[in-house]
């Protein structure tokens, strides 16, 4: 057999998915290790971090606000429909407040920001990879992890909780507007319900989750971006992978964190 005909194990049918999954997991862990090692020097690049905070945080604000407004609004419509004839409307504020700060705010914000920011990071770094800009950086003795990855991961990890706080407030406001304007619930009833059973730990649990979601979104964008190959098509594939992996990991980590926070920490 010609030596060029040997097919790598990873390309053979049934092995492929398992091996690729294991490889990706391992490489992401290595990248995370690099990020942690380069963190002190990467944090020194304040202008780069600030630039990314603006792009990721402020850039995602309009999208986050619109998504949150409608999330709160639809939560009010759905909850009032299910409450009708069974549950007093004072609990409308309670259920909207709780579901928004614990789950809807952090998770929906992460999913939409994941789509926007994850894709943008993967496309930018992917283009840099296929046009040899990442190679050039390495050839210059500049670590791409320090210069490209750390600022993005730090910025996303810091900005996701901030976006989530905005999303929480706007979503509750959206629910309030629908309740007061269309569902015949008084302002007093809604806000009293909101205060009922309000626990600060619910808000914190949502924010803790959003920290992890920020790290996931930026890590997936950077990982798939930096390993893209083969020109425009490769960048497209990297972008898709980054967004799909972000969304899946957000939902999986959401479950794991919810289990830990509400069954162990706050139980």
């Amino acid at each position: 057999m010609n030596e060029t005909d040997i097919e790598p194990l990873a390309d053979r049918g049934p092995f492929r998915f398992i091996l690729n999954g294991l490889r990706d997991t391992g490489e992401v862990i290595f990248l995370l290790g690099d990020v942690i090692r380069e963190l002190p020097r990467g944090l020194g690049k304040v202008p780069l971090v600030v630039q990314q905070m603006v792009a990721i945080g402020i850039g995602s604000m309009p999208l986050t606000v619109i998504v949150a407004l409608f999330t709160g609004a639809v939560a009010a419509v759905q909850a009032s429909y299910q409450f009708r004839d069974y549950v007093p409307m004072i609990y409308l504020g309670t259920v909207i407040g709780k579901s928004v700060v614990i789950e809807l705010g952090p998770v929906l914000t992460a999913l939409v920001v994941g789509g926007r920011v994850g894709a943008s990071i993967a496309a930018e770094l992917g283009t840099m990879r296929v046009t040899e800009q990442v190679d050039a950086m390495e050839a210059m003795g500049i670590s791409p992890t320090r210069y490209l990855v750390v600022p993005r991961v730090v910025a996303a990890t810091l900005m996701l909780p901030v976006l989530t706080i905005f999303a929480d407030v706007v979503a509750i406001f959206g629910g309030y507007l629908v309740a007061v304007l269309t569902l015949d619930v008084s302002s007093h009833t809604f806000t009293s319900g909101l205060r009922l059973y309000f626990h600060l730990r619910d808000v914190f649990s949502g924010l803790i989750k959003s920290v992890f979601f920020g790290a996931i979104i930026s890590m997936m964008g950077c990982y798939y971006g930096l390993r893209s190959e083969g020109g425009a098509e490769g960048v497209g594939v990297a972008t898709t992978h980054a967004v799909v992996a972000s969304c899946l990991l957000i939902l999986i980590v959401d479950f794991l964190l919810a289990s830990f926070l509400f069954r162990v920490l706050f139980a």
């Binding site: 060029t4 390495e138 050839a139 670590s143």
Partner: protein
Amino acid sequence: MPEPPIVIESVFKRLGTKQVLRGVDLSVAPGESVVIIGRSGTGKSVLLKHVVGLILPDAGTVRVDGVDVPTLGVADLLELRKQMGMLFQGGALFDSLTIGENVGLPLREHTDIDESQVELVVHEKLHLVGLEGVDDMRPSSLSGGMKKRAALARALALNPKIMLYDEPTTGLDPITADLINRLIRRLQERLGITSIAVTHDMRSAYHIADRIAMLHEGRIHAVGTPAEIQATADPAVRQFIEGSAEGPLLPT
């Protein structure tokens, strides 16, 4: 006798299913300019990237200044690379930075010199490659030749001892190509820079090379001075330098 600055020994490399390099041996003496010629896809750029450690060999050694590149840790490798400059095929300028920022980046990252000094060096390097008044422009607004020259200025920013050029004149008009060739030659003659250039532009190869090495079928097929290469009777080399479709090298 001290070891040559660049020594490549029995380097093998497979990329995907293709065995690209099959035992490459090449060494470059201090201040020497070696040009690697060969057809597209023969692994010339892959070989060049082995020298800076961007690609690691499957087998064999690559030593730069006596240091075995593949065995270096990340920090040592980054340190070694500061002594080398590499010009990439498409320039590889950072889109998000201006030309001035691109050229100044290695200085800002690796030296403590103050901002006014950085500006001075940036101007000096851009002047050296024949570019003026482009500091504040973005790479996207420059022509291919200007990008390549700006990238060359960036590669020279830290006054490297070793320069690697990946297709320095490909895609340039003949006049700009000649300017680049002269510049490469001048850097070598005046500053004693050791260099490897990869090209399939024979005009450029004759101009800048002390020695020409032809990469063919994953090995160094022939090495010689430009005069020796021009006079060779080897059919593969002859076919390549004459640019003929007929001969032992088949169309790919």
